[in-house]
Symmetry: C2
Subunit: 392 residues, 2 copies
């Protein structure tokens, strides 16, 4: 109909009016020469605990504001054990010793001469989502699950460098030590090191950020974040784990019998809806794209299922290509909200066949002492007024 | 031998000495809460012309400092026609009119309610590498080829939004207009629009940077950069191209007979070695990984070949996975430099079968008036002292 082929009167007015920013010359290059987000996005930042503890130790990624699978470097979560060291890359060295034929010390220039690889991998702290094991909190997805990011990491295979040193056949474990004040140190099975461990010097195209281990970090795809030692200064090969502080006093899973499960390395299959999510508000009924992330330290994501009725029925979400090994996968699920209260949740299945568990099964499987490795399904409750809260 | 299993005396000293940054508590979260690169990377920035013209119009990506395929947002090249407008996203509108059943005006909130997609695509200015057509310059790969970047772009398919408006069957061309002071405007065939055009609101996980079109830009995968209209405010559907300033007075390929070739949209198959590249210096003989980018506006990269003897013989480079449609592809080629002068170059072949041409064939095929669309092979000359210069 001809009458349809015209703007409404109010639209016509809006259409004809030229915005003020179109009537003037815009600004030149925004300073500094290294760009920054728009001033209108000033709230899209990492959050730190409030009130901040004496020693600030973690900041969280605004998952609810992310799009796609890449986390921009300015928003990648942080976890330090003794703050961020200020390392001059020209003076930084990596020493490799222990059960090798030729102990060697490498400068950054030495390391970067070797063949490199670039891979998109997720990074998750083993303590991510941990507080939920004690008590459901009414917070944002950033506060609850924000110790999670995904970048394109570039580095040299540790196996390539170890070849230069000559690995002795009796070497079964590898010690990695950071140059931070904590001397952060972990033991890693040599099978993982020879499989896919990277000496990473760049993330998302540019050199590592200081808080991410500049100038050099270890990266263990799919393993709990703290093992990807930042500010890497030393690699030692031995026959057994070293039983360091960070694998005895911390990062173990205490069971109800008082014994601790040690060396639970891979981050198990998990997913979370980032929109709609905690503290958001749906302004009206109608179409919404439910979206979020799925990932697994054991391989690729095979399927993500979404429920909008509290788990009674499930549909299959679309996975955004490329679906990469040990990377965040963006899923999308179309939904029409009719205005009734609803509980939405996602459940991931990986190529190893593992299914993301409910919080009930996680709590049943783990003891009350459990702190790490919470990969439970996260339900979000949507009230009739559109307010979104933790659905547990 | 046992004697091999020990550091040399100087290495032993280096090994035992603990660096100063390991002896102290590091810093807390670096400010601002939105992170920045290390101070030691202060030279890794976009470059602008020197001396800067009255109206700054372009900055270039430091390709020689990139790793992997993602260009971090702070380093993505810029090209403005009237500076960067300061747009309040809450006030920004997109109008769609012309040959549609229902002309509509959308707010950013309206647009972001639609189903989204995320894709990794390159973006290249049609004037990239243009100066080389006139005269070989002894500059860096950033100065010569830096109007090139690659990001993960997130947005809504323009075809989805057009469905809301109802496209009339006689509509064959689409006009896209920017809200900058230039009112940057281009005509696009509707086939491309319905195929894969995106209304992009995010890049590399976060909202668009101001200089990239915040809050909304068009994105035409594989097409010359200027057509992906930034600060998008208006879409009109019609039967013929509008013959705007930017497709008549500019962005046409002037032939020797005085006629201009118009609407040469896709950026043809191309590659460039970014390391070693112009103005670098090889410090010693021995192993180097030759690396760079390949891309094609017509599809995927099928193969990249590298020559280290000025084009006499070629080897096949390794392509870093994932190899994505219309995205930068990172290639790597192992090389041992024996200290003799050498000329290295790369040549890309895409899935449409097109082979990147030599500069001679480009100059032969185009007229002396040609300025845009230079996809010629870039040779780099390595002198006996290791200095790298333009090899033409």
């Amino acid at each position: 109909m001809a009458s349809h082929n015209a703007f409404s009167q109010s639209q016509e007015k809006e259409f004809i009016e030229i915005d003020p920013w179109t009537k003037t010359q815009g600004s030149g290059f925004l300073n500094p020469p290294y760009g920054l987000p728009s001033k209108y996005e000033k709230d899209v930042v990492r959050v730190i605990p409030s009130p901040p503890p004496t020693f600030l130790t973690a900041s969280r990624t605004p998952l609810q504001n992310l799009h796609g699978i890449i986390t921009p470097n300015g928003l990648v979560f942080e976890r330090h054990h003794a703050g961020i060291p200020d390392i001059n890359p020209d003076q930084h060295r990596l020493a490799i010793h222990g059960l090798v034929d030729r102990p060697l010390i490498f400068s950054m220039e030495d390391i970067m001469r070797f063949p490199s690889e670039s891979r998109i991998y997720f990074l998750e702290c083993s303590g991510n989502s941990a507080a939920e094991l004690k008590k459901a909190s009414n917070q944002s997805v950033q506060q609850i699950h924000g110790l999670l990011s995904c970048c394109e990491w570039t580095g040299v295979r540790l196996s390539t460098i170890l070849q230069e040193c000559g690995v002795r056949p009796e070497a079964k474990w590898v010690l990695a030590e950071g140059a931070d004040g904590a001397g952060m140190t972990r033991s890693i099975p040599i099978s993982k090191v020879l499989d896919d461990a990277l000496l990473v010097y760049a993330q998302n195209g540019e050199r590592l950020r200081p808080e991410q281990g500049y100038p050099l970090r270890l990266f263990l795809p799919g393993y709990e974040g703290n093992m990807s030692i930042k500010w890497l200064r030393r690699i030692k090969l031995g026959t057994e784990p070293w039983q360091t502080r960070e694998e005895t006093a911390a990062y173990t899973d205490l069971r109800s019998d008082g014994k601790a499960l040690q060396f639970t390395f891979p981050m198990e299959v998990k997913s979370v809806i980032t929109s709609p999510s905690g503290l958001m508000k749906l302004k009206s009924t109608g179409f919404y794209e439910i979206t979020g992330f799925a990932w697994s330290g054991n391989g690729k994501i095979r399927r993500v299922e979404v429920s909008t009725d509290g788990g009674a029925t499930w549909g299959v979400a679309a996975l955004q290509e490329p679906v990469l090994d040990k990377a965040l996968v963006r899923f999308r699920f179309p939904w029409i909200w009719n205005g009734n209260p609803a509980v939405i949740m996602s459940r991931a299945i990986d190529t190893s066949g593992e299914v993301q568990p409910s919080m009930d099964s996680v709590l049943k499987a783990k003891s009350a002492n459990t702190f790490y490795h919470n990969n439970a399904i996260q339900p979000w409750r949507i009230a009739a007024n559109g307010e979104v809260t933790n659905g547990r």
